[in-house]
Amino acid sequence: MPKTALTLALLFAFGVCASARQITVSGFVREAGSQEPLLGVNIYVPELSSGTTTNTYGFYSLTIPEGDSVSLLFSYVGYQASKVRLLRNQDHELIISLAPNEALQEVVVEARREPTATENAQMSRIEIPVYAIKTIPALFGEKDALKVIQLMPGVQSGSEGQSGLYVRGGGPDQNLIILDDAVVYNAYHLFGFFSLFNGDAIRSIELTKGGFPARYGGRLSSVIDINMKEGNKESFHGEAGIGLISSRLTLEGPIIKGKSSFLISGRRTYADLLMRPLMSLSDYQAGYFFYDLTAKVNYDFNTHDRIFLSAYLGRDKFYYREKYDDYNGEANLYWGNLTTTFRWNHLFNKKTFANTSLIYSQYGLNIGFDESFDNERFELLFNSGIRDIGVKFDVDYLPNSRHFIKTGIQSTYHRFTPNAITIKESQGGFNIDEKERYETLESGIYVQDDIKLTSDWRVLAGLRISHFLAGSSQIIRPEPRLSTSYMIGKRTSVKASYAEMNQYIHLLSSTGIGLPTDLWVPATERIKPQRSRQVALGVSHDLSKPQLTLSLEGYYKRSYEVIAYKEGASFLATDDPFSGNKVSWEDNVTSGKAESYGMEFLLEKKLGKFTGWIGYTLSWVWMEFPELNNGKRYHPRYDRRHDISVVGIYKISKDITLSGTWVYGTGNAISLPLGYYDAGTIPDKTGSSFYFGNATYFGEKNSYRMAAYHRMDISIQFHKQLKTFERTWEISVYNLYNQKNPFFYYVSYGTNQNKLKQVTLFPVIPSISYSLKF
């Protein structure tokens, strides 16, 4: 009886009809020329009102009833649609190549209802257009993927110029940033001013803010899934660029034509090289640089098996060297990520696609100090970091046109080193060699099904079971996920979602802006894992002329066991100032809860000569910690009532592209001194004074607002196709109207009156860059 029930349930669930024979059309969709896989391509059969989309690797599978011939329409934003007519008398394997459109022409589709983002069950997901990353003006002309994400509703930047992301009230630690399946722990260069993702090597970026599919886990607020390009399989190409502060070079091409290709991309800043001659006369030298290197190779054994090996290496280094007489001193601060991913795609059959990934990820911060004088030598080395080794197995199963099932398992071994310090002294024997290390195992198993219940109603249901093992203690938590969409008419849909998330690692950040000194630490007995629940409700509407997508989403999120530094604590406080006792990071933090809610509005135009979007977010964020602000709830620094982004890209002609952005945000919530007084204490036996020093009265935590932030950037690109390559000159202006936005405030103490001073980081900054593509 149970077997029968199970069989019936499966038959019902999969909608298998024994009386009608089915055929399966499967294959891959790739970009014409380069053979790069295209993910998210819509495949639609107008005669059957049935369709599917390609997965991350460009694979699709569509099972339809046998019958008369039908048309398959392959469409993708920015590419020319392709239509294939085929007989429904047997299975088909089709590899489709789509050619890029010039200037993202508005596609005229013969089908009556092309499936759109509106129809997708998943909500709170935004595909970041890669062309926008390359076009939108940027600080010093450095193109930055994370800064483009900041322009999306629901996503906020922290401070002026910073790449840190605050998504729906969550901190930068709550974003899962994945590069080819590998977690990137510190996604920033230059103390957070630039992200480490080089736009030349990126194939796709997806941001998910809520309604998380079950395949994702481990963070509370967002998932940023970045896929690197694979490299052109047909011919050798390259891109190079010279900017104000860095230069970059990308090369790609076939290793074995049609079967294997490579891509290598690098970038390095050269401020240190330019400054070096200016410092050559001094007794000291100081400098800073960063570089990153991305590489990928792949090989197609056949249509069923492919392997990929991708790697990212990035480093920032700040150094200071001093030399005079018998003294030699050198201080270094360097940090960076290394990720490596090996992936194997295997097609079990026409309906089942699998990917296996072996992943290595490492982030480390090193502070070194070495000085020698005469025969004495002193060396100090501080290390902090995290190292991951993971394995991941994912299966996509498309039994019929009503179901798209994804299931998988993943496990990651983390090794945390929050603090490791070595001190050596040649004379005096002052030697320290201390290490704080934690080892944990984080795993997850999931299943999700994108179900088309009717032609108008879709449900994406999933369950993830997460598991965390630290020493002898383990935690197992179920994480239900549910998203649904219902079409009203042909162009409007209503969506709703619910997601529970758990986060087993914490980031100890004293600033929240992505400084390299931020420490990753695991959940422990004392510091519990963070967890959240989020509901969202939204409406999407596609306008036909002009082709615009309008979406409005509301969300409510509660997070528990979120952590913050205790009042008075900081990452520098590793030793008690008086007793000299070691202070564990667990002593410096406190746990509490957070609540965030808001509305997001996005009007987007993806096609045509003029593209861009307008985003508006109205939001509230509250934090409540028993040990902070006397237990009263307060707004965190990044609580921003209004956040507006306007982005426009206009292709004036084939040779000229004009783009601009304007952003506005309510000022950050901060604590400012309201007054000064003498604070008293209980006099003890040795202390006779009732008062002990001056105290600052802040009122309640973060009860004051910085001035509102607003800024406009513009850029113009001049393209020209020369004999062997295409060159682009870009002139851009950051902060066009020279708005003096506050970076921070401080009190200047005066004899007659104290003053509040504002420090601004970036005035109007013009930049120019040159790039070429061949």
Binding site: G675, N752, Q753, T760
Partner: protein, 283 residues
């Protein structure tokens, strides 16, 4: 020289925009009274009254001691008006000896300020015993007949069952050499405040305190003294934030500290404590 000039020009370009007066309304607040009163069981009442001055007052002002205030403390049906101590502005006293378990209310009135209200209840419990764990590092002699050593000690004491209790410790080593008077050295603790959360009725254990003591190479005896204060909740919460603010004031990266206050209409604390000293010889 040209290179240096160029270097400074480049630097100046990037820093040119840096600083100016903030063009936002300055935070405004009215002056407020500050009150510090820790009622100690068995001791007369003492209260210190001052004020908080606005950070951006024009002209700039410094905090002052406040004289001429009407300060009344009520206990049961009794009412005590505090008098200002001559020659100690802002210090007010009353000879009433604070009683364990007594509930006291405070009222302060000063012309030009809002009136203040607060209340607290004096604790009743004080442990009848304590224990300590002592450890000393090897002595390092540095000449002149003196030596230096790190002495570490922790204390524990029993908590009262089925009651919410709060503690604060202070401790010192004492030693005597020949006929010289007793010398005392403070013991430093990373945490001086404890509550009985998750330790109801159990032994409360302090963190390990340290003291570097320079002593004559030989002395007659060494002892440890624990000063244990049983606090009410207001005094405990205030002292916790007070300590955190004190320890972090020189750290520019530290989070701002919001000091606890239970004074309605003002700033400060109206709390209570029992103080008890425990002493034991080490050798």
């Amino acid at each position: 020289m040209k290179k240096r000039a160029l270097f400074f020009l480049v630097t100046a370009f990037f820093l040119a925009s840096c600083e100016k007066d903030a063009n936002i309304p300055l935070p405004q607040t009215d002056p407020q009274l500050t009150v510090y009163c820790f009622l100690e069981v068995g001791k007369p009442i003492e209260l210190k009254l001052g004020n908080m001055v606005p950070a951006f007052a024009n002209p700039r002002r410094d905090p002052e001691k406040i004289s001429g205030a009407l300060i009344i403390i009520r206990y049961g049906t009794s009412e005590f008006q505090l008098t200002e101590v001559s020659g100690d502005p802002g210090m007010y006293t009353h000879p009433h000896q604070v009683e364990a378990g007594g509930h006291y209310t405070l009222y302060v009135e000063v012309s030009g300020y809002p009136s203040l209200h607060a209340d607290c209840t004096a604790p009743t419990y004080s442990p009848d015993r304590f224990s300590m764990q002592y450890k000393s590092s090897p002595q390092q002699s540095f000449g002149g007949g003196f030596s230096d050593s790190l002495r570490r000690i922790s204390f524990s004491w029993p908590d009262e069952a089925n009651a919410r209790n709060y503690y604060r410790i202070s401790a010192r080593f004492g030693y005597q050499f020949s006929s010289f008077p007793t010398t005392e050295e403070t013991i430093y603790f990373s945490e001086r405040n404890y509550d009985d959360n998750n330790a109801n009725g159990e032994e409360i254990q302090s963190v390990i305190g340290n003291s570097y003591i320079s002593t004559p190479s030989s002395f007659d005896h060494l002892y440890a003294e624990l000063e244990l204060m049983m606090l009410d909740e207001h005094a405990y919460r205030y002292m916790r934030t007070y300590d955190v603010a004190y320890f972090s004031e020189d750290n520019p990266f530290a989070e701002p500290v919001i000091r606890y206050s239970n004074i309605s209409g003002g700033i400060g604390v109206f709390g209570a404590l029992i103080r008890k000293f425990y002493s034991a010889p080490i050798y």
